[in-house]
């Protein structure tokens, strides 16, 4: 099937290794829940090496957008992925870092078990093989979380858990990395560290990153592109463009700031 070339990216990122060729495209995506439209007319391009932040009020459809991308939510319109050779891939490798830890504190699941269940066909209840342990360790070391490998998931702090989940999302290195409010419930310092790490990894692995967050101030520094969502895309551009848009300032009560 012929796929027309994509438009040039609206905002040229500064990532040194960017190939700029691979791209995830959502075109005319719309979704309904219980007969009510929750997402309309979404056209979005996610380029590799670029961190795209999605902001919006509660109920604006941010998580729905993520679910459409993951294929978890029935939707109309197209979602497709082009690799560096501009071949179309129907099932890109998606790295996903979930919204918040609804994890059971008492669940007897170790960090290694999470990796084993994701990477290996062997049931995690029968133990983990040495190669899988190696792969898990390598993944965790990407996010400086190697020492957490045998910890119970429920015993991790919010920041530790998100580093583990980010390491998991990067094993194997994905085509797109999707993070849904990864830092809710994490303190300011933890957030700064996490976004710094994310920004570094994005360049290192030339990742297309979609990040849903409320953290406007931090995002302004780390995002390449920002999208303001309110059921449809209200405006998009560089963080400074979007954060100066009157509709965004209104929604987030930014009048008193800046």
């Amino acid at each position: 099937m012929h796929v027309p070339p994509d438009d040039a990216p609206a905002h040229q990122g500064i990532a040194p290794h960017r190939c700029g060729e691979c791209c995830t495209t959502m075109r005319g995506v719309a979704a309904r829940r219980n007969g009510v439209s929750v997402l309309e007319d979404i056209d979005l391009h996610l380029h590799c090496g670029e961190l795209t932040a999605v902001i919006g009020e509660n109920g604006a459809g941010k998580t729905t957008l993520v679910k459409c991308l993951l294929g978890e939510m029935p939707h109309s319109g197209e979602v497709h992925f082009l690799d560096a050779a501009r071949r179309r891939k129907d099932s890109p490798v998606i790295g996903y870092v979930p919204q918040h830890n609804s994890f059971d504190k008492d669940a007897p699941v170790s960090v290694l078990d999470l990796f084993a269940a994701s990477l290996s066909a062997r049931p995690a209840c029968l133990g983990v093989s040495a190669p899988v342990r190696q792969a898990a360790l390598a993944g965790l070391q990407r996010t400086s979380a190697g020492q957490l490998i045998d910890r119970k998931v429920g015993s991790l702090s919010g920041g530790e858990l998100q580093r583990v989940l980010l390491g998991l999302a990067l094993t194997p290195v994905p085509n797109i990395l999707v993070l849904d409010e990864p830092m809710s419930g994490v303190d300011h310092r933890g957030r700064e560290q996490f976004y710094g790490l994310l920004s570094k990894l994005r360049r290192e692995y030339d990742l297309a990153v979609l990040l849903v967050s409320h953290d406007l101030a931090t995002l302004a520094r780390f995002a390449d592109r920002m999208v303001f969502l309110d059921r449809r895309i209200v405006c998009e551009g560089t963080p400074s463009q979007v954060l100066h848009d009157p509709r965004v300032r209104e929604a987030f009560s930014l009048h008193s700031l800046s």
Binding site: V66, K67, L70, G71, E72, S91, I94, G95, Y96, P98, Q99, S102, F103, D104, D106, A107, P108, V109, S110, L112, D113, L114, A116, A117, S118, S120, A121, P123, A124, C125, L126, G127, V128, D150, K152, V153, L165, A169, V178, D180
Partner: protein, 282 residues
């Protein structure tokens, strides 16, 4: 003539220097315990982790209606109608949950009240309900060699399916979206597991009892949770506790002349309390 495995089993156990080992029904019951306990212990880990305890309770209680349907259809053995009805009910509950029309505990509660009442109404017509009280408390000592064979075959199939779907169930417990992003379709795995659970619980019911079977599913896993630090430990401890409680309960029920299923549950409860104590102390 070659001895059958069953004959070898009887010979081996009867050589033990215990009074109970001299009875054929006890040797068969022990074999059944060795099949059922680890199976329930293994499935229980997912039941506890996925908060399905109320669901499995409802499936057990739905056996009333399963038996009633068997009686209406004139079946000699109501087991088939029990299994069939348990599966229909599992699919119905899954459908209601997916629709999101009711919260899951409300939906299960409604369905359980309905199926228990319907079953009791049909079975008690003409004041004949006493015939079915066996199902309430179970009768492990009445198990026949053929039944043990069936249970073993079911156990092998169930264990295979369980292990096949284990990883995606584990991820889905943590986060359905995470499971989905790894290409592991949680919904299908959960439905397969729920059906598997329904069949295993229903097949074990006549021997353990409707009223107590759910405890055998959740107590070993709850105890294992107090001891384990990872998934393999959780799984291993749960099976070990189930086996220990099963064997101890069976033998205790022999000497105390009590119903086996309930005695096994008390043994499992004792182990659970010990693990709780250990957890509180440490």
């Amino acid at each position: 003539m070659m001895d059958s495995p069953l004959a070898l089993w009887h010979r081996a156990v009867s050589s033990l220097p215990f009074e109970w080992a001299g009875y054929e029904f006890m040797r068969l019951a022990l074999l059944a315990v060795l099949v059922i306990s680890p199976l329930l212990g293994a499935l229980g880990t997912v039941v506890v982790a996925n908060r399905m305890a109320f669901f499995s309770e409802a499936i057990g209680h739905a056996a009333f209606t399963g038996i009633a349907i068997g009686v209406i259809l004139g079946l000699d053995d109501p087991m088939w109608s029990m299994i069939g009805f348990a599966l229909v009910l599992t699919l119905a509950i899954a459908w209601v949950r997916r629709r999101g029309a009711l919260s899951s505990d409300t939906a299960i509660g409604l369905v359980m009240a309905f199926t228990v009442s319907l079953g009791i109404v049909i079975l008690s017509r003409g004041g004949d309900f006493a015939r079915y009280t066996n199902f309430l408390i179970g009768d492990m000592l009445a198990i026949a060699p053929r039944d043990v064979g069936w249970l073993a075959a079911l156990g092998a199939v169930a264990a295979g399916l369980f292990l096949l779907f284990f990883n995606r169930l584990l991820l889905a417990t943590m986060s359905p979206s995470l499971a989905r992003s790894r290409g592991k379709y949680a919904g299908a795995a959960e439905l397969v597991f729920a059906c598997l659970l329904a069949v295993v619980v229903t097949c074990a019911l006549p021997w353990i009892g409707i009223l107590v079977i759910n405890a055998l599913l959740i107590l070993p896993a709850a105890a294992a949770r107090n001891l384990a630090r990872n998934t393999a430990g959780f799984f291993g401890w749960s099976i070990a506790v189930a086996l220990l409680a099963g064997i101890a309960g069976l033998i205790a029920s022999f000497y105390a002349s009590t119903a086996t299923g309930a005695t096994v549950v008390l043994a499992a409860m004792a182990v659970y309390l010990l693990t709780l104590l250990r957890r509180v102390v440490s």
